[in-house]
């Protein structure tokens, strides 16, 4: 069985580092993208990805547009999408879920909260 692969999409290097480190503890092989367009390019070039953690507010292409682009393309249908963002209003959560996000985590978060969400999505023990 191949390793689980995750893509962390955030314009903050700090947040990519934090999320990447956490995902590695759960067993993911992690790659990074600094905005939605960068992520689409990496998905096009690279191996299949099981999970993408997606920030909302990013330059070039924001997280919501990335989710719409992925779900609208019909590619990567098996990839789970988790928004990880400071945007916490209910309307934002609804918009992300309607666009095709599978989960939503609000910043700031504790490692335990993120790990619990991953377990709920079927990743990790």
């Amino acid at each position: 069985m191949r390793d689980m692969r995750a893509l962390v999409i955030d314009d903050s290097k700090a947040m990519r580092m934090i999320l990447g480190r956490l995902l590695k503890t759960v067993g993911f092989e992690v790659s990074e993208a600094c905005h939605g367009r960068d992520a689409l390019e990496k998905l096009g070039d690279g191996p299949p990805v099981d999970l993408a953690l997606v920030d909302w507010n990013m330059p070039e292409m924001n997280g919501l547009d990335f989710v719409k682009a992925v779900r609208g393309s019909g590619n990567h249908a098996a990839m789970k999408l988790m928004m990880v963002t400071t945007e916490s209003e209910l309307a934002r959560v609804q918009a992300a879920i309607e666009a095709g996000a599978d989960e939503y985590v609000m910043k700031p978060f504790t490692p335990e909260v993120l790990k619990d969400k991953l377990v709920q999505m079927g990743f990790g023990a």
Partner: protein, 163 residues
């Protein structure tokens, strides 16, 4: 006109200051795992500082929410966020980037709290720079000193009303 009377006429500055302080407490307890002691309102900090600001736009006002600290204190917060020990080196660019992310989280939490009252419409991307927002006509500036673990920081709320 007295400051108290101004606050009675326009309670928004006080509400924003409270929301930003509470937001920092939430960020410190979760992402930084550091205790917070709120010192209270102060004047503009002196000396060289790093400032991380995030823009919030509401139907009636434009705000910059900021967190400002000297080099040692900003590095303390960044090490806490990244879980990097004092003995380890930080990579070039880590401090401004991570300091900006802390401001982003503080702004996001404050925005969520205030949106219930006033219907916030937008949150910008963090801007990290040296120094403070310059005082000028039309901008209300408020500062609050806060201790976050061993770091001493100043929260900044700069507010201007939209015409």
């Amino acid at each position: 006109m007295s400051a108290a009377l101004l606050r009675a006429i326009d309670p928004a500055p006080v509400a924003w200051a409270a929301a930003v302080g509470s937001a920092l407490e939430q960020v410190a307890s979760t992402a930084l795992e550091l205790p917070v002691t709120r010192i209270g309102a102060v004047g503009a900090p002196e000396g060289p500082v790093l400032g991380a600001y995030i823009a919030v736009l509401t139907p009636g006002e434009s705000l910059q929410i900021g967190i400002v600290a000297d080099a040692a204190s900003s590095e303390t917060l960044v090490r806490a966020l990244l879980r990097i020990a004092e003995s380890e080196e930080l990579a070039p660019g880590d401090v401004p980037d991570a300091f900006g992310e802390i401001a982003n989280m503080v702004g996001g939490v404050a925005k969520a709290a205030m949106s219930v009252q006033i219907g916030v419409v937008g949150l910008g991307l963090p801007l990290v720079t040296t120094g403070l927002i310059a005082a000028r006509e039309g901008i209300e500036l408020g500062y609050e000193a806060v201790e976050v673990g061993a770091a001493r920081v100043t929260l900044v709320v700069a507010r201007s009303r939209l015409r």
